[in-house]
């Protein structure tokens, strides 16, 4: 097991309870293309996203248990007093993904965001989707 896998495990362990306890959870919509099982399919749906100090967690469920991707932050900067841009990556033995996008914030926390997520998963399927945040479902 590589140090990256161990680090990822620690981050998952740390991220999920803290997100559930105190962090903002966004309901978000995604739309794009999935490439899987010799088929190219347009996809559209809902995911749930929360941010921690060091990363971004994308899950299929609002309980943040069915994880799609655990991403570490690469860069974040302000483009104005209430907006910015950020990038995240998910690099482990099975998954490889990048999220790049823009966000709005109130000076304290992210209030909305949109971006592009490109990833390949351990089963060989891959996708590119645009993710747009919706309402905050937990805080």
């Amino acid at each position: 097991m590589s140090y990256k896998a161990i680090l990822l495990g620690i981050l998952i362990f740390l991220a999920i309870p803290s997100a559930a306890a105190a962090q903002v959870i966004f309901q978000a919509t995604f739309s794009g293309t999935e490439f899987c099982h010799s088929a190219v399919t347009k996809i559209k749906g809902t995911v749930f996203i929360t941010f921690s100090a060091g990363g971004m967690l994308i899950t299929k469920d609002p309980q943040l248990k069915d994880v799609i991707s655990v991403m570490l932050i690469n860069e974040s900067f302000e483009t104005s007093t209430t907006a910015g841009a950020f990038s995240f990556s998910d690099i482990d033995a099975g998954n490889f993904g990048i999220f790049t996008g823009t966000f709005k914030d109130n000076g304290d926390q992210v209030t909305g965001f949109t971006g592009n997520f490109g990833a390949i998963f351990s089963d060989g399927c891959f996708q590119t989707v645009t993710i747009k945040s919706g309402k905050i479902i937990a805080q």
Binding site: F35, T79, S87, T100, F117, G118, T128
Partner: protein, 152 residues
């Protein structure tokens, strides 16, 4: 003249045409890219011409390959390894995914679809999404559409 010499001669005759008709080792395509570049506290719309190269020109037939994305001045933006490729229906179409992580902060993905010559595996066109994070902290996402193949 030994039978070995004759056999060698025959093999040379057979081999020469095969080599001359083989797929060129490396192929390049002109491409257009549109998207957003995030750098130096600014998010900037991007529209540019790119040069896309594949180490093995018969892309659709290759399990392993390398994709080079260069700007118009042929400066390499990213060099990615093929992660996945599969054929789709109808014949002569497919999808592929390339990634890069050089361990120095340069991380990128390209996922897209292609059309290819069913006999040679050479791409006739492709399109996809390129996401990249660079070591200098800049990042971008681009939609790339291939143009004509370039003979080099």
């Amino acid at each position: 003249m030994s039978y070995k010499a004759i056999l060698f001669g025959i093999l040379l005759l057979l081999a020469a045409p095969a080599v001359s008709s083989a797929v060129p080792l490396e192929l390049f395509y002109q491409a257009s890219a549109t998207g957003t570049n995030f750098c130096n506290n600014a998010a900037t719309k991007v529209k540019q011409s790119l040069l896309i190269g594949f180490l093995f020109g018969d892309v659709a037939f290759e399990i392993n390959n390398v994709m080079a994305i260069e700007d118009a001045q042929q400066t390499v933006i990213a060099s990615l390894l093929q992660e996945e490729i599969f054929a789709t229906s109808p014949p002569g179409t497919g999808a592929f995914m390339y990634t890069r992580n050089d361990g120095n902060g340069n991380i990128s993905t390209f996922a897209g679809t292609f059309k290819n010559d069913v006999n040679t595996g050479i791409l006739t066109s492709f399109t996809g999404t390129f996401n990249a994070i660079f070591a200098n902290g800049c990042f971008e996402n681009l939609t790339i559409k291939s143009g004509k193949q370039i003979v080099q």
